[in-house]
Symmetry: C2
Subunit: 542 residues, 2 copies
């Protein structure tokens, strides 16, 4: 069923008018931030996260109109439908149950009248039992040595979330196990990894839902040949995380253990499933992985049950749409003032841009409004010394600043200019949103700051597994809330198919040439032919 | 002297009209790419780099109009003026002579009638001699052990270029020396590094032009205290790269050696000076650093002397301005299909966004046209599994694809689906620009690809030091050519000052509270006060 077109919604029309009003000089952020109780009115707290949108270009009327839009698009109802197993992935006729993978409350969630919770719990139990045997040395490599190095072979959603969580929680990694990611098919990625691992103590975890992803298969094959070349039995060094019955779950190619993933959890939402569960439990211990899940669950419950006007990811989503569709910003930066979160921006870049980079409604109609923005970011204060010149005096873009009250290391209290490093970090975290919002007049145009540049500030108590889980689930929920406003499907990715198909045709040409050196690329267009000839010639023409 | 306003230039007006024409359905890229000799007409080669703009939304008329714009703005003259020591950094009344730092041809370059080449050569000689003594064990740490670990302390331009080059050339690092970057003031950055270095064999290289950068000073202080705590003499473990006479070049705080940087080379252009020279020569050997310089010089010479219509960085710059100012794209992605280039996007993000994120002409007039775009990127094929859904079916953005014919590792010729990993990578590199350009019709809108999405493809022969130098200098020249079109100053960064000033005020408040625990933050605005109270309370209120 088609929803009403966005541009025809009365709530949307009112917001278009409201955007004109917010563009008036008297609504410059330098005035808005000085309003009485600005922060109290435009901030929220829930699931131990503080969300401050006082430096967004909104007033009470704007927010109320956005709440009306949220109601008109039934955001919470959609979210709860998703979490209850509704087939919200309409184009693929599937549920989207990443929330179920960290649901410790509901006994059963039905999809097609089948309860999915028992298998979710079973996989978690299998992970727990497996990891304990690896840690205590019951499960070892083929020479009997305990595993000390893990290489995750997987690309996109099969590793970005895990990479984010493992780097965020590195301070907790006390199992004497290192973790690496072999994602890219680029041979440099493989070459670099095998240049320093010790194969006897290495476990390869191959992660692929259908076990056909070209990059992952190529790397798994190389890794297997490498292990055999070292006289080691791949069956004792490989683990797979894949769909039940996929080629990776086939007794014909034996592995230490195969863990299942489900078609109702998409790759970019899968870090709380076995995709993250197996490597993260090995790296951090199963208990910490479960603490991480419980943090995510806490935010899920908040997203499900908090009223619209107190709902952090929902409010973040309507602000996102406001900035995008009404104020015309095309990007969203994520700047964590916490180095362990340095892989958050690339993870959210994938989560958000793959989910919301769509142009079609769930009913298949072409949308007239732009959808997902471009997400990018680096940690602060590094970003200040990189692209903040443009943020302050060039093309404006909205920013999520993220701060953490308690760092993972507290033993360093040395002071420079009277403050600790952590305090220096916070001085900058506090200063930047205000500088962007307020600006500063100067008669010299080169030293003039126009201000009125919007940002949110998100504060976490700490960087514990729970807090990281909450933050992850916050961005996941924000992403799907935005999709529900546009009425797009955030769970499919048909946009990656054309490139795959074309690469497959080119791969066949290369394979033909490998096979017969006199093969020419006649069937290809002339540009493609040039590149194929260049690759085989080994060098640009002089 | 003010140049004529862009919007009043006849060349600019013609381009505005031309953009309307290129928006017509018959000028969709799916037709343009099929034109006879499309690639021959819209590609260039120089300094061993191939630059293909056949998948940009241009025809011959567009390109000719852009050449007229280039002539009107005297791009090559400006570049040569810059390279000859002209004071092109107008707001700071300085030259911008990064090209001089790799100039092996010119005997002398005068700035204020003083030849700068002797001191450039002298610093290079000092680096060469120093590095050789470190490598042969003449210069050691305070216990007499040779140095095996380097930590560069520096932020922004003091490390991003070096990080890019060191990761690109990691395959050449045969000096048994590891390199790390302590950039962020975030205590997690310091805590992580000292968790695994061995202080006895560690050399700290502190890089800061004026030796006052808050982050760098805080980290240097922590590092020095850490070394003393281990019973090691900082004077035997610290090196500085700084301006002559700065506090880092003061005999009162002795160091192993202090190398000079010059006010005519800005941070983001400084990797070919001592800023990159000291750490990179230690890591790779001085000879390879010089090979890298010679590659950069080659591209500089090309940029200086190749005619406008054959000039790679100049053509890339006018295409950049065409996409930005006439076709309305706000972003530029950089997608290297070469994992060793994974730090190229963050380096160019800084180089470009800090240089061109301006709103004021060199004469101090406010520009009406947008300047620098937002630069971001990840390596391919990883990016395909991350944000390419949006690239194909969401909001379009231009992309630079970068391919390398010969990888650094050639020993892996195992095949999957009939091709090697390197060939699989190329199959994707070839397929993506064409898929984006041509698109594909489908009655099902969710599977429809609108195409007409522009990209360039840049091909390098290999990833040698020379090739990396050429690529670096290509992007540096492209950046300043774009600035010359807009008539902005790409060498200053006043936009970072306001945040620094405000952070300094907040730091003082924190220091006051550290000093006297009953200090209150009365002088601060209420939002700032909230954050300061939160930091000191140690936890969000429940």
């Amino acid at each position: 069923m088609s929803l009403q077109k966005l541009c025809e919604l009365p709530e949307w029309k009112k917001l278009v008018e409201q955007a004109d009003k917010m563009d008036l000089p008297e609504n410059h952020l330098k005035y808005l931030v000085k309003e009485k109780n600005r922060l109290e009115k435009f901030s929220l707290q829930g699931a131990e996260i503080f969300y401050d949108f006082s430096r967004q270009r909104v007033d009470e009327k704007t927010i109320n109109l956005l709440f009306e839009l949220a109601d008109a698009r039934e955001l919470k109802e959609n979210f709860n439908l998703m979490a209850a197993g509704g087939k919200v992935n309409t184009t693929e006729n599937r549920a989207a149950l990443h929330t179920a993978s960290r649901d410790f409350l509901n006994d059963s969630i039905l999809v097609d009248n089948k309860d999915v919770m028992p298998e979710i719990r079973r996989v978690r139990e299998e992970i727990k039992e497996f990891v304990s045997k690896v840690h205590n040395g019951e499960i070892t490599g083929s020479t009997g040595k305990p595993f000390k190095q893990i290489v995750v072979i997987g690309i996109g959603g099969s590793y970005l979330g895990t990479e984010f969580i493992s780097s965020a929680l590195r301070a907790y990694a006390d199992k004497n196990i290192e973790i690496e990611y072999l994602s890219n098919v680029d041979i440099h990625n493989f070459g670099r990894i095998i240049s320093y691992i010790d194969p006897k103590i290495t476990m390869w975890i191959v992660i692929s839902k259908n076990y056909t992803t070209a990059e992952t298969m190529a790397n798994a094959k190389l890794a297997s040949a490498f292990m055999e070349g070292k006289g080691l039995d791949p069956a004792k060094h490989f683990v797979t995380v894949t769909s039940k019955g996929s080629p990776g779950d086939d007794k014909k190619t034996p592995v230490i253990r195969s863990f299942h993933m489900f078609d109702f959890i998409g790759g970019r939402y899968s870090v709380t499933s076995a995709v993250g569960g197996v490597p993260l439990s090995l790296y951090l211990g199963y208990d910490r992985f479960e603490r991480f899940l419980k943090g995510a669950e806490e935010m899920d419950n908040h997203a499900k049950s908090a009223p619209v006007h107190q709902n952090l990811p929902l409010v973040a989503a309507i602000i996102g749409v406001w900035n995008n569709n009404f104020l015309g910003y095309n990007e969203q930066a994520i700047i964590p003032y916490a180095a362990p979160l340095h892989k958050l921006p690339p993870h959210i870049q994938q989560l958000y841009m793959e989910s919301n980079g769509k142009s079609v409604t769930r009913a298949g109609d072409i949308l007239n409004e732009p959808t997902g923005v471009i997400v990018f970011g680096e940690p602060g204060t590094n970003a200040q010394h990189s692209f903040f010149q443009l943020a302050h005096q060039g093309r404006p873009f909205p920013i999520d600043f993220i701060g953490v009250i308690k760092p993972q290391y507290e033993q360093f209290q040395g002071r420079s200019k009277g403050v600790t490093n952590h305090q220096e970090l916070w001085a900058n975290l506090i200063a930047q949103p205000m500088a962007l919002a307020a600006g500063k007049d100067d008669k010299d145009n080169a030293r003039h700051f126009s201000g009125n540049r919007p940002s949110s500030t998100i504060v976490l108590n700490d960087l514990t597994p729970e807090s990281i889980g909450r933050l992850l689930a916050f961005y996941e929920a924000k992403t799907v809330f935005e999709a529900f406003i546009w009425d797009i499907n955030p769970f499919d990715q048909f946009g990656v198919e054309l490139g795959k198909t074309m690469a497959s045709g080119i791969r066949n040409e290369i394979a033909a040439k490998n096979d017969k050196s006199n093969h020419t690329f006649e069937g290809m267009d002339s540009i493609t032919r040039f590149y194929l000839d260049t690759l085989f010639s080994g060098r640009l023409k002089d």
